[in-house]
Subunit: 202 residues, 4 copies
């Protein structure tokens, strides 16, 4: 119903999350040399990676809500659940950067990525149920292969971190790469829908 | 009149409150072991509880404003008063988590919950007065039994905390549970209204 | 032209300012007694006062923009200038609370209040020029007596602080009181406009 | 397509960036004298300069999106890339202020300014490609001489900083001055477009 406000609130929360992550990169006190920035490099890398992930989620969230027709109470809660896990990104990213991609921080980061992805999947399922089998969203998301692959890669990444944390980071980054492009399926389905609508109107 | 801006501003403030609460969970410095996260567990529980409360308020606020037709000056101030008390959640949640749900932090948290609930009740009353007896909101909110029960439970929770703070936390959590589902009364009243409107149009 | 985005951006900035002020009230570390909250009382009073001021500005800003018909480049900058001075509230409020309303913090707080009021006045003047003499805004704001009185009271408050800082605080609070009610003039002028429009349509 | 949400998200991020910069000006603890504000002066100057830059970007971003007709996936990412570099302003500004405009902080600040400008230029290019050669945006932005000059001045500023950092700051400030006025070209092109549209309608 009031889709605009759901979008506005989510945008607000995601905008704040993406911006407060940068606060973990603290200004080095009483130090003006270029060298004093060196310890900040891992934090900066962690920030870039997390910025990309939050950016991807905002992008997909944007496309997903765009295809929705009505908002239910269950959707509001599924969305809040997703935002909750997303809100742990600044902490996880900060801890991982602070400790130069050490074992446990990388694993905790992966667990947060995994749980945010699960929460997003639940959100998609709730939307599918509300919108019905023949809806635009269902056609667009399909069997959500990319989503399922991501979950698998996060778990594999967490597992491989025990061998070498950088393997975990590499796998997380790989997931980011496969999501980098906004969901073509939804865009395609919407274009077709519009063509159909136009055809029906004539 | 300009309902959209009241919603946008409230969304902004609530989005910031819900997100800065997570800043109380500070990254443990120079410590990469999993054990270093253990002291953060009570803070994390406090964050979850507070996230749910703020989420409930956003949800109900969303439904409440959706049923409003015009915005008055008194509403703007009643809304700001409500947001003021909500803005104390990060402090109260942080103090409660920091001190592992000790007596006084739990009581102060309960007092903040109670005063936010009172402020929300005042907001509802102001809306009822402005919208008039036969309005959609009044029909939807009814005698607001759930709101009154919540106030009672908060006070009981504050009182029982003197026996054991966890009793207080349990009662606060119970209130969260009864509010978890968005206000069916408003949704129901709105659906009926729409049916009536549709019937009148024919 | 794109009034909505000017409102949205201003709402965002004001929402953040009003919320980060509460971050100055820091959780007392390793202290669960009620007494440990005592040093926070002046910060809390400072927060309440500042929350009311920012709330008043949001309220008046809301009414002011509501009466605008088109947005010019000069308005965007006058608005940003106003938001700049408003953004100094958290610092000024935090310093005043931290130092229990001592002389210089109270004076600096007054200077920030004064300069924010000047910036708001400039914003109103820019709007008046753009909208023209016969516009809704000009009729509504009139000679802006309340605005001029406020400036006078801020200066008086700053001066009296040298005798006793609490005199200054009292005068600042007095200004808050005279602005507490949203600008009836604009609301009244708009109602009349609507009646005229309705009459012309018939 | 959903231009509104792109604007809303960008507004949110820019509003947060412009406001958290002020958090770098920390309240002096246990010090109520006017003298204790003296070390904050360079931070304050750095804040003013950065506020103007972010304000300019918001202003131009506002005008740019206003002239867009449809939003593509590439635009979303080009916009996020721009917001990423903008999010480094609070860090760069804080470090420059903290170190009283010393050599490396001034250079890093210039590099961040430069990269944000590059990201903005990329955003403009992506928009031009999507909108097509005859679009409103392309006519409005033209060959983007002002943008190219800015990039040149940033590099010159970075270079001159090695002689004296204040030369660098002076050049950054000069760029701010030439952008201070919102892009008249877009405003002019849009006015012409409207006149044409009106003429065609008759």
């Amino acid at each position: 119903m009031n889709k605009g406000r759901l979008e506005a609130f989510s945008d607000g929360v995601i905008a704040i999350i993406i911006t407060i992550m940068v606060l973990e990169i603290k200004v080095p006190e009483h130090s003006e040399s270029l060298v004093s920035l060196k310890p900040l490099i891992p934090k900066f890398i962690s920030y870039i990676l997390s910025f990309i992930f939050v950016g991807i989620y905002w992008n997909n969230h944007h496309h997903l809500l765009h295809a929705i027709k009505k908002v239910s109470g269950a959707m509001l809660w599924a969305n809040l659940n997703f935002l909750f896990w997303l809100s742990l990104f600044p902490f996880a990213a900060g801890w991982m950067g602070e400790n130069h991609f050490a074992l446990w921080p990388v694993i905790v980061y992966g667990v947060v990525l995994f749980l945010a992805a699960v929460a997003y999947t639940i959100f998609v399922i709730v939307i599918k149920r509300t919108e019905g089998r023949d809806s635009l969203v269902v056609q667009a998301v399909g069997n959500d292969a990319k989503g399922k692959i991501s979950l698998l890669f996060y778990i594999t990444g967490i597992g491989l971190s025990f061998i070498n944390p950088w393997l975990g980071v590499a796998l997380y980054f790989f997931v980011a790469c496969i999501w980098f492009i906004p969901d073509k399926r939804i865009e395609k389905a919407m274009r077709e829908q519009e063509l159909n609508d136009a055809a029906n109107r004539d």
